[in-house]
């Protein structure tokens, strides 16, 4: 069972109160993009054993979307942050670098 802190209402929400929203920080490639970019945007996803960045929605709560950094192996939740950003906040990355030296996720390391 996961307990994830919702950054908007501040509760430690239990997994059944949330809904997973897939991988975080995807960059959309629209109509005029190349086939390769569009394929990557639509289909290619990270599937790491270790640090992962995800989108979650506090669906049975405040209803807000947010981001979470989580370990897919140990289910440790490193932290959550606002949905209105294109990259993880620096303090969270520092935590991750300290806890999981050498982790790599897409272009984040």
């Amino acid at each position: 069972m996961l307990l994830i802190n919702c950054p908007y209402c501040g509760v430690a929400a239990e997994e059944t109160e949330l809904h997973a929203g897939g991988e975080a920080h995807l960059k959309r490639f629209g109509p005029d993009s190349s086939d390769d970019d569009f394929t990557g945007y639509l289909f290619h996803r990270e599937n790491p054993k270790g640090v992962h960045f995800e989108r979650w929605r506090h669906v049975n709560g405040c209803g807000k979307w947010f981001h979470a950094a989580r370990c897919t192996n140990t289910l440790e939740v490193f932290g959550t942050y606002s949905a209105q950003t294109t990259e993880p906040p620096k303090d969270l990355l520092d935590t991750l670098r300290a806890k999981r030296p050498g982790f790599k996720w897409r272009n984040i390391a």
Binding site: Y8, C9, G10, V11, A13, E14, T16, E17, N60, G61, C62, G63, K64
Partner: protein, 190 residues
């Protein structure tokens, strides 16, 4: 004017706690920036309370406000006044980026009375109901069994639960089962 028909006709149940479907609860939903001074003063004018902080409630007699999300509040007042107050608030917020709707008939409200209410709620919602973690003055939006709900405590022995009217019968059913006399766990009253 036509009579107000409650979802369950004011059903009630006596068990570990007394459960009653409440009549006469007016509810107005407000969406907008809750830190905006125009919105704060308009709510104060029409509903008589200052908008509460995160997961808090504010009450002044029968009128009050519940924090629902960073940009949503549920304003409470007597049922007969809800429509007029919603119109009044709407008029005051003309030009602001805000939305005001009377949702009194879209929701059902239950009142739980009794010392065992923490246990009755804890069986249904993934919420820490210990007296240290959840106290009167707080509101929690969550799920109860399979449906969305919000609840708050008016005092140590009284709680009110709001859910969608369409799931009122389900809510009354699960609350009644959870409050069955033979199902006491006595976790919080030991």
């Amino acid at each position: 004017m036509s009579d107000v028909a409650l979802a369950l006709g004011g059903a009630s149940f006596d068990g570990l706690v007394n459960i009653e479907e409440l009549a006469g609860q007016g509810m107005v939903t407000l969406r907008g920036d809750l830190s905006d001074t125009t919105i704060i003063s308009a709510v104060k004018d029409v509903f008589g309370v200052t908008l509460p902080g995160t997961r808090e409630t504010a009450f002044d007699g029968a009128q009050g406000a519940l924090w629902m999300s960073p940009d949503e509040a549920l304003l409470l007042c007597p049922y007969e006044e809800a429509l007029q107050r919603a119109d009044e608030l709407s008029a005051k917020l003309h030009g602001s980026h805000a939305l005001v709707v009377n949702v009194s008939d879209a929701r059902a409200v239950f009142r739980l009375k009794g010392v065992m209410l923490r246990e009755v709620i804890a069986k249904l919602a993934p919420v820490d109901m210990s007296p240290d973690a959840f106290t009167p003055g707080m509101v929690r939006r969550t799920r109860m069994a399979q449906v969305a709900a919000a609840f708050w405590m008016d005092d140590a022995n009284t709680a009110r639960i709001v859910c969608f009217r369409s799931v009122a019968a389900y809510m009354f059913g699960i609350l009644s089962v959870s409050a069955d006399d033979a199902s006491a766990v006595n976790h919080f009253t030991r």
